[in-house]
């Protein structure tokens, strides 16, 4: 009997991915098609980003995808001058959290946007992108 192949699509996420197999692997296909998606519980309507396969509040796995659209507010950010193993070639880079109201998104600022132009509270939008090493990711740009 042939060994069943593992769905390892998630290993395409980020400069270095630390997870390969997840039940929300379709996130990767959406990202590949230029869409940043979270999940919403069909029972209670809660939005989840990052996407989840289950809603603990509804004890349900009945989820649907929604696109992260519009803009959010920059909650905090930091430019790294020093990196953990595997990320040195990306330096310097800026991580950030953006508040969309119903959910929040953690990620990186577009490398084309200078940190000097950032301030807490400014409007940002998340956009699908590629990393320097050709992996899938998303970045925040000015909205």
């Amino acid at each position: 009997m042939a060994k069943k192949e593992l769905d390892t699509r998630f290993s395409r996420f980020g400069t270095v991915s630390f997870a390969a197999v997840t039940q929300v692997n379709d996130f990767i296909d959406h990202l590949d098609q230029g869409k940043l998606m979270g999940t919403r519980c069909k029972d209670c309507g809660r939005h989840y980003f990052p996407p989840r396969a289950h809603c603990a509040a509804s004890l349900s796995g009945d989820m649907e995808w929604f696109e992260v659209k519009g803009s959010g507010k920059l909650m905090g950010f930091s430019t790294l001058k020093y990196a953990p193993t595997g990320f040195k070639d990306d330096l310097p880079y800026t991580i950030a959290t953006v508040d969309y109201g119903d959910y929040r998104v953690f990620g990186r600022i577009d490398p084309g946007l200078a940190p000097e132009e950032l301030s807490v509270g400014m409007a940002m939008k998340a956009v699908a992108d590629k990393t320097r090493n050709g992996q899938l990711t998303y970045v925040f740009r000015k909205a």
Binding site: F18, G76, T85, Q135, T137
Partner: protein, 389 residues
């Protein structure tokens, strides 16, 4: 319910690189605590061993350590909540004694970090965050706390100088602590002198001077019931309050970055259990892995209102002679931060303070002390309140 107290405390020196194995390092804290309590291994009913496992080749270190310390055949097990592991160990020890299951329990914390490079260590620590959704962006602990610093500065006008003042205070006392890694004085000017290592950015706005160092170290806390303590001839410091909380691991799960919800929740529980308020605390140890972490702790513990933490450090109220002395042993910023050992070291400092045995750093006649120990970036929060008769 009967009372549960701490009858012995010990720690190794915290060092950049310990020349030995984990069992040998743990022995040093154990030796000091056993000598402190003046008891023998046969007096111990159980051990809880605390560390962050990804630094060791050794799996399940509890068994190895219990054997080395002569604590077989008593039960032993492992407890882990990242940087707050040994505070969690203390909570478990309290529960084991209070339940009547054991009369005495030892909490052993340790970490050897020096056998990894700094980059590898950052990667391990970064994996204490969300490895599926955050680590792929190249995160590390200083950067997460830096986001909090950025948010705090924007919300309240806290300045980089306020953060530097916290390091200056830490160094004031770190110089006096023979078990600390960093024992030199620190001047504010080091943060503005572009040639000085302290001013070098690590993750904006945090600079090298805002960050504690990795270290190797061990700690040991011995807990006993009131009856057992009496039978052993010990004079305990009492565990009056214990609080603990958790939060979403991913920053996307946090409603704010200007403080740590887990610290507030844990403090509320601990104050309620002890029947006290923040005003009753005479001396505190807070988890200053970064300068901003201490500033947020002032506010989350109720020593200052939200946004007013800076006033405490500017007015030196958290110095030894101030209204609420904080980290007068030098804090993590001076001592270094050997993850699993850190909480035990904080508890040791408060026990010595309450006994009046803190030497050069002794605060005047304290009766109630507090320990604030955080795991990850506000992932786990632990607050412990200790008191003496």
């Amino acid at each position: 319910m009967g009372r549960v107290g701490i009858i012995g405390v010990g720690q190794s020196a915290f060092v950049r690189s310990y020349p030995g194995s984990i069992r040998e390092l743990v022995f040093e804290g154990f030796q000091e605590a056993m000598s402190d309590a003046k008891i023998t291994a046969a007096d111990m009913d159980a051990t809880v061993v605390c560390s962050a496992p990804e630094y060791d080749k050794q799996r399940s270190p509890a068994g190895v350590i219990a054997e080395y310390l002569g604590l077989n055949p008593q039960p032993t097990f492992y407890a882990e909540t990242l940087c707050s592991s040994s505070s969690t160990g203390l909570k478990l020890a309290y529960s084991l004694v209070q339940s009547g299951l054991h009369d005495s329990v030892m909490v052993l914390g340790f970490q050897i970090m020096s056998q990894l490079s700094s980059e590898e260590s950052q990667e391990r620590m970064g994996r204490g965050a969300d490895i599926q959704w955050e680590s792929p962006f190249g995160t590390m602990m200083p950067a997460y706390y830096a986001m909090h610093a950025q948010a705090h500065m924007a919300a309240y006008g806290t300045t980089l100088e306020d953060l530097a003042l916290i390091r200056v205070k830490a160094a004031t006392y770190g110089q006096l602590n023979e078990k600390a890694v960093y024992r030199k004085p620190v001047a504010l000017e080091q943060f503005t002198d572009s040639e000085n290592i302290f001013s070098q950015p690590v993750a904006t706005p945090l600079r090298t001077g805002d960050c504690c160092a990795n270290a190797d170290g061990s700690s040991c806390i011995i807990v006993a019931s009131e009856e057992k303590a009496k039978a052993l001839g010990c004079d305990p410091v009492w565990i009056l309050g214990l609080g603990a909380a958790s939060a979403p691991v991913n920053m996307a799960g946090r409603e704010r970055l200007t403080g740590l919800n887990v610290a507030e929740k844990a403090a509320e529980q601990a104050y309620r259990m002890a029947g006290i308020t923040a005003k009753d605390v005479d001396v505190a140890e807070v988890h200053d892995c970064f300068t901003i972490a201490e500033l947020m702790a002032y506010e989350n513990l109720g020593f200052a209102a939200p946004g007013e933490g800076r006033d405490l450090i500017r007015s030196k109220e958290t110095y030894k002679e101030g209204s609420i002395p904080v980290n007068v042993d030098g804090g993590l910023l001076s001592k270094g931060h050997p993850i699993g050992a850190t909480g035990g070291s904080q508890i040791r400092t408060i026990v010595l303070q309450l006994r009046g045995e803190a030497g050069d750093i002794q605060v005047k006649d304290p009766t109630i002390g507090l320990v604030h120990n955080i795991g990850g970036v506000g992932l786990y929060g632990n607050v412990t309140i200790l008191g003496r008769d």
